[in-house]
Amino acid sequence: MNIPIEYYLILSGFMFLVGVAGVLTRRNAIIVFMSIELMLNSANLSLVTFSSYMGNSTGQLFVFFVMTVAAAEAAVGLAIILAMFRNKLTLNIDDINILKW
């Protein structure tokens, strides 16, 4: 059976919107961080989709790079969140607004 490409793209777009909603609305830093990962993975999904649809492996190859970078980014991001927690004893990003006028 052959699943049409639209399904993949709709799923990818939906995942992206969920991620955006999460980033914009949630107050817990960890969840915001996870939402960002979600957006990243939705982009990965559409890359793989187009790669298989076009019969070109470049997109899939690129996904591996993205995942590698995402892993590194997760390490750095989590370290920042940890450091932030140690300083402020909270993960509520409304309380972490020191970078302003």
Partner: protein
């Protein structure tokens, strides 16, 4: 020797560098003094050698240009550092290094124990360096370099004792006054140099003077050049209205007053006008102006000197007055008479100042002549030399001042204007009077100083220079014996300088025919007046002070006018200094600076602060708000791309 003339500037420069750099490290005054004096002494010997070498040359080849190096070469402007050795510069060079050397030696004694001993000799050497550049330079720019250099040294040396009080203020105020007043003159001088370059296309003396004599140049250009140059001379040589700095310059050490403010620097203006004689000869109106200023200065300053009580102030006003004589001579076209008086004046006025220094030294820095009296038995050598100098300046034959002053008086009479002669004679009488008032109050009569003072004769290092200068002041006039006495050889001094002034003299319709009988009659008239004036002064100030007191009471107004120097300083204060100070404070500072300039800058800053104050609220610090904006931005950008496809 002529080719070695550059050493006369190089050696003092080296002396300046040595004493300036190491003077404060070397504790030994002898080393400093010997180095400081020997550089000038060797320079003097070189000038003497150059003088005799030049003397042995034929008259028409007595000018040598010693070219050292190219200084400035831009476009048509080509200025070399080159020295012009001729009759005029050799004469000035002899005076500067000769009198300079004597005063250097004297300073070793006078400045003994001063904490700025090395600094003093460094400045003196720098002064000689600048002054030699002034008199030797073969172009106007080098002359100007020396001109500014001597002004700088004058400033440094007037303010030498910068921590001492002087009259109502400090010595540094007197130094600033000298510098600023000189700047006014220098400004005129600079304008003159610019105009010379514009008119003649060169700054070299030889080119300029040759073109001035040959080219067809409008009269008014000559007038302006001569006038601007003379404004420079007014400042440097202390003529009305720029003479006010010289009396205040007495704040400096006495050898400085002798060297700079009597013998050499103040005569730079006379030298410069004489050097440019051809330009002045082409501007008769300005010549007249020079003569008027000179005559007025002579009598004006002499009248102030009559009542001053500070020994150095009397001599300072006397210097201003004698400089007036020199300009009177220049103005009537008697250039060599002016230079003759420069020379004799250098001898007797330097001697008077050094004698005054010796008195001040012996009286422990007391300068008021009312507190002297009867010093001749304590300081015999100083007294005799001072007396010789006073007789010389008064014009008693056969001392040097008689010949030079008589030549000036005769020239001003022969020029056809009896007023100048009359002013000259009255000034001569006043000069004799105030000089013998000074001598009588200082050396004769009762002792008017307290028992805490123990006057003593100065050491040999100071008295020997006095004796040398006294000999020069006594016999220095013999090289310029007027024609009527010397017969067919004529006036040796005039003959020596004749080639320099010949082009100028040719232009001026000189001297109507006067009999020699007339000259002798005038000479005798002046002489009788001077001797009478001396006797009057001696009678009043030794035997019977009453007539003078009566006179000063009777003419109280005049007396106070003279005592306060015609209130010229006060007038300048009210008319120039105060308006400038107040104007700067109220208009420039309080209004232009604070209101306009500060207001503009602060206004711009305030405006930016107001605008940014409202804009910066966008930066909330809430990361999600930034993310939202970014998202909306991306969506908007996407829409725009899609729609434009």
């Amino acid at each position: 020797m002529v080719q070695l003339i550059y050493l006369t500037t190089l050696l003092p420069l080296l002396g300046f560098l040595f004493n300036g750099l190491f003077g404060s490290k070397i504790k030994n005054e002898k080393i400093i003094g010997i180095i400081g004096s020997s550089t000038i002494g060797i320079s003097f010997l070189i000038v003497v050698g150059a003088f005799f070498q030049t003397l042995s040359m034929p008259v028409d080849q007595r000018q040598t240009i010693v070219n050292l190096f190219t200084w400035i070469k831009v476009g048509n402007l080509d200025v070399n550092v080159s020295y012009q050795v001729d009759q005029l510069s050799l004469l000035m060079g002899l005076i500067v290094t000769g009198v300079g050397f004597i005063i250097h030696v004297y300073s070793i004694g006078y400045m003994h124990g001063d904490k700025g001993f090395g600094r003093f000799f460094a400045y003196l050497n720098l002064f000689i360096f600048a002054m030699m550049n002034l008199v030797l330079g073969s172009n106007f720019l080098l002359l100007f370099l020396g001109w500014e250099g001597v002004g700088l040294c004058s400033y440094l040396l007037i303010g030498f004792w910068y921590d001492r009080k002087f009259e109502k203020s400090t010595t540094s105020d007197a130094a600033k006054k000298a510098f600023i007043v000189n700047r006014i003159g220098d400004f005129g001088f600079l304008l003159g140099i610019f105009l010379i370059y514009l008119t003649f296309g060169s700054l070299n003396f030889n080119d300029v003077f040759a073109r001035a004599a040959s080219l067809n140049i409008p009269q008014y250009v000559f007038n302006f050049i001569a006038l601007f140059l003379f404004i420079g001379a007014m400042g440097k040589s202390a003529q009305i209205p720029l003479y006010i700095w010289l009396p205040d310059a007495m704040a400096g050490p006495t050898p400085v007053s002798a060297l700079i403010h009597a013998a050499t620097m103040v005569t730079a203006g006379v030298y410069m006008v004489a050097r440019c004689s051809i330009i002045y000869a082409s501007a008769p109106a300005i010549m007249e102006f020079v003569a008027i200023i000179g005559a007025l200065t002579a009598i004006f300053a002499a009248s102030i000197a009559l009542v001053q009580n500070d020994i150095k102030k009397v001599l300072a006003y006397s210097t201003v007055s004698q400089l007036g004589y020199m300009f009177l001579a220049l103005g009537v076209g008697a250039f060599s008479a002016a230079l003759f008086h420069v020379m004799t004046h250098a001898f007797f006025k330097a001697l008077l100042f050094l004698g005054a220094g010796s008195v001040i030294h012996g009286m422990h820095d007391e300068q008021n002549i009312q507190n002297y009296g009867g010093l001749k038995k304590y300081m015999p050598k100083t007294y005799v030399t001072f007396l010789i100098a006073s007789l010389a300046i008064a014009g008693i034959p056969p001392l040097s001042g008689f010949f030079s002053k008589d030549e000036i008086l005769w020239s001003s009479y022969a020029d056809g204007n009896i007023i100048y002669w009359l002013i000259g004679v009255v000034t001569a009488l006043l000069t004799a009077f105030y000089m013998f008032r000074l001598v009588s109050l200082t050396f004769d009569g009762k002792e008017r100083f307290g028992h805490d003072k123990h006057p003593h004769e100065s050491p040999a290092v100071m008295t020997i220079p006095l004796i040398i200068l006294a000999v020069l002041a006594a016999v220095g006039g013999f090289i310029g014996i007027p024609e009527i006495f010397s017969g067919e050889h004529g006036n040796q001094f005039d003959n020596w300088l004749e080639p320099i002034f010949q082009p100028a003299q040719a232009k001026i319709a000189m001297f109507g025919v006067h009999s020699s009988l007339e000259e002798i009659v005038l000479m005798v008239v002046t002489l009788v007046g001077v001797i009478g004036s001396i006797y009057a002064a001696r009678y009043i100030y030794i035997k019977n002070i009453k007539p003078a007191e009566k006179l000063s009471k009777r003419f109280n107004g005049v007396y106070n006018l003279l005592l306060n120097k015609y209130y010229v300083d006060e007038i300048y204060d009210a008319s120039v200094v105060t308006p400038i100070v107040k104007g700067s404070e109220i208009v420039l500072w309080k209004f232009a600076d604070i209101k306009i300039i500060d207001g503009l800058i602060n206004g711009v800053a305030n405006l930016i602060e107001k605008i940014s104050g409202s804009i910066r609220k966008i930066q909330t610090g809430v990361a999600q708000f930034y993310a939202l904006i970014m998202m909306l931005g991306i969506v908007a950008a996407l829409f725009w791309i899609i729609l434009s496809l």
